[in-house]
Structures are given as C-alpha cells and as structure tokens.
Amino acid sequence: MSSVRVLVGTRKGAFILTSNEERKQWEVSGPHFAGWEIYHLKGSPANPNRLYAAQSTGWFGQLIQRSDDGGQTWEPVGNEFVYDGVPGTHQWYDGTQHPWEFKRVWLLEPAPDDPDTVYAGVEDAALFRTNDGGKSWHELPALRATKGELWAPGAGGMCLHTILIDPNDKERIFVAISAAGAFRTEDGGQTWRPATNGLKANWELPDPDAEVGHCVHSIAMHPARPNVLFMQKHWDVMRSDDAGDNWYEISGNLPSDFGFPIVVHSHEPDTIYVVPIKSDSEHYPPDGKLRVYRSRSGGNEWEALTEGLPQSDCYVNVLRSAMAVDTLDSCGVYFGTTGGQVYASADSGDTWAPIVRDLPAVLSVEVQTLP
C-alpha cells in the first residue's frame, strides 16, 4: 500500500506528517529543529529517504540539514554560501545600488536523478548547487549576470524561491525571484535569459517591455508537459505555452488574482489550483472565506473549492511554497497557512480537512508519495 509523507516547514521548526493512501489518519512527527525557521524541506526523487532542510534564524544564521532515513534523524551538512567572485550590487528600495549579502536559503530542489545534487535558492537572490550531498555549495553566477544590477527586493526580501527542472532535460531550469522575475537556462546554468515577455506590472514597473523587475510569486509545471508553465504573480495569474518565452493572463473569474502559490494536478496537466488573497495590502482571503480555486481548463474558468474550509472569519495567508500535490491515483492537494493549519484534500480539492491545525506559521509544504 502506498503512503504519503508531508514535509512542513514552519516559523519554529519542521513537522513530518504521514498517512496511508486513504489519507484520513495522520501521524505528526516534530517539531524537528525546534525554535528554528525552516523555510523548506524536500526529498530527493532519486532516493525518497534522503531529505534536505533549510534551517535558519536571524541570530545564528543558516544551516542545512540532511536525513537519510526519511526524517527520523538528521545531520548538519555544509552551510557556507559564498557568492562567486566580487558579489557586486543590485538595486535597493531607494533606487541606489546595494551590495549582495547572503541572508538565508529559501528553497532546496534536489536533482531528479541524483540524491547528492541539490539546487538552493537563496536571499539575496542567487542559485547555488551542491554535488556532494550538501557538504559544499557553489554559486551558478551567470544568473546574477542577467541584469542583476536591476533586481530589487520585494517586501519579503530579494529571494530566489522557485526552481523547476525540466524532467526531460535536466540542463533546462527555470527559476523565479521576487522582485526580479523569471529566468530560464538551457545549459545547466551557464547562461540565462529572462522569461518575462507578457508580464505586466503597470504601477510598479511602468516600462511594458521591462525584462526584469517583475514580482513573480511562484511558478508550476506538470512533468508531462514542461513547456507549459503557470505563474502566480504579485497580481495576475499567468500561463506560458512556450517554456516562458511568452505569457498571457488566465485570471478569468477569480475573486482576486493576487496570491502566492500555484500548483498543478498530478494527473491532469490542465487542472491548476490557486488560493486568492485579497490584495498586496491585506494578506488574507477575500471576505474572510478560505477558498482554493481550481481551473480544469488550464485557466480563465475557475471554481471555488470550499467544502471543509472555513467560510467565515478566516484571515490567514498561504505562502508561496506552502502548497503541493501527491501522485496517488486520486490526487491529493495540500496547503499550510500562516495560522498553523495544514489542510488536505484526497479528492483533487472537492473536499478538505485539516490534518493538523495548531502548528507555528507554515512556511512550506512538500509531499512525497511513497511506494
């Protein structure tokens, strides 16, 4: 019988939730790394018991933890993230240039075919890679050479928060940065180009042809169709059918097109999920109703999924890395909130239930489907 393991990063530790394929009864393990911010945990597709966790605090800095037994035990590995060469400068809030400074790791993306190779997205935005299981990390500096002097931090910092590796071509990688935009490499990170044509930000970024400066919140891809990308931007839900060369809006009838995460159903490449948030000034669901919106047509037509979710007085947020799907026959969808709840649906979003409800604020949710 298959099982699922949900990896939850929170403001005060990591939690690991496990269940069988019915996904009704859940065991909660944790807190791991109690008291530390865990921005992200993720398992290796090549060895699901190999997990990586990004552990940090403002006091003691960044650590990377590794597990080889599915999260029962952990060992700290390398935490030296040094920008390649002279770090240079990027645009600061006031328009002046500001030196690049490492702050934390936001995201860890293990390579599909090698448990020792992992990409790390960091703040201030840059992409790092390890080829030795996290002992040493080195930057892929060509990314920051792609108009990096024009990148600027968003309200949450200048973070590289999304890394998507094309399952058919591991040299092709997409990354997203707030507030720099989306970028694509075809050669494993040696060269990059902005992938932002069609993104609009009329008020924040008046130049309609600006290649960088877009506040991309997250990007999702279905592994069977890697040329089709879905994006939740600061405002606007967008779609690309040509691997990011061009984007068009698919916000359609959403009550708000502001939000953070976006995910794709594991078996239906045109079924996508977002969690609309009222606005960039009010980070909670419109009308106090926590609603996931699902489109089964690849965008534009959206239906509210509400059964089992609070429909009054709900003022939590769902952060960009806090939504994921499993790959069981009946696709499971999961998300965590800043109120500490993790909700799950075992029926593609039709019905929901909290699988744990009083954790610290949830920063990230990842799901492993285990044989």
């Binding site: 008291g35 530390w36 403002g58 006091w59 003691f60 800095g61 650590l63 030296e80 040094v82």
Partner: protein
Amino acid sequence: MIRVLIPHHLRTLANSGKEVELEVAVPVTQAAVLDALEAKYPVLRGTIRDRTTHKRRALIRFFACGQDLSHEAPDAPLPAEVATGKEPLMIVGAMAGG
C-alpha cells in the same frame, strides 16, 4: 581551561552541555576562544561569526565578569578571570523580535 556558556540553540546543534571547556593558548582572546570552540564543534562555524570575515553576527553578544564585551576587538585579551577559568565567557543571543 577556558569555560564558555553557549545558548540553547547552539547547544542543540553541538550536542553539548550548557557549558563547554576549551584549551586555549595565551593570550586568551575572543578570537582564540572562538577558534577553539569551532575546532571542537565544527557545526558552530558560521553561527556565531561570519565564516570568512570572522565578524560577529549582528544578534550575538559576548559577556563576561558582568561586562558586555561584544564590541571589544576580537584580538583584545579577555578578562583574567576568563583566562584562568574562574569566570565563563557567555555567548548570548540578543533579545530581539519580541
């Protein structure tokens, strides 16, 4: 033997007790103590001071003998009571964040 008190989160990382003892050659300075601490517990590299520049992390403080030594030069001798093991050097996470 030099005595060093380390904060809760670093104890967890180092799998150590609250107080650790270190052999440090004279002159006993803040930098020398941290060198010895990181040599004994490599996992602490980068958690107290920058790995490369050795600049103290912003929210870390050093106290001993009732004095705040956080802004002392890393190569300045620590108080004699610390150097002789009579008093511990305290590494403290600053109050911040509410």
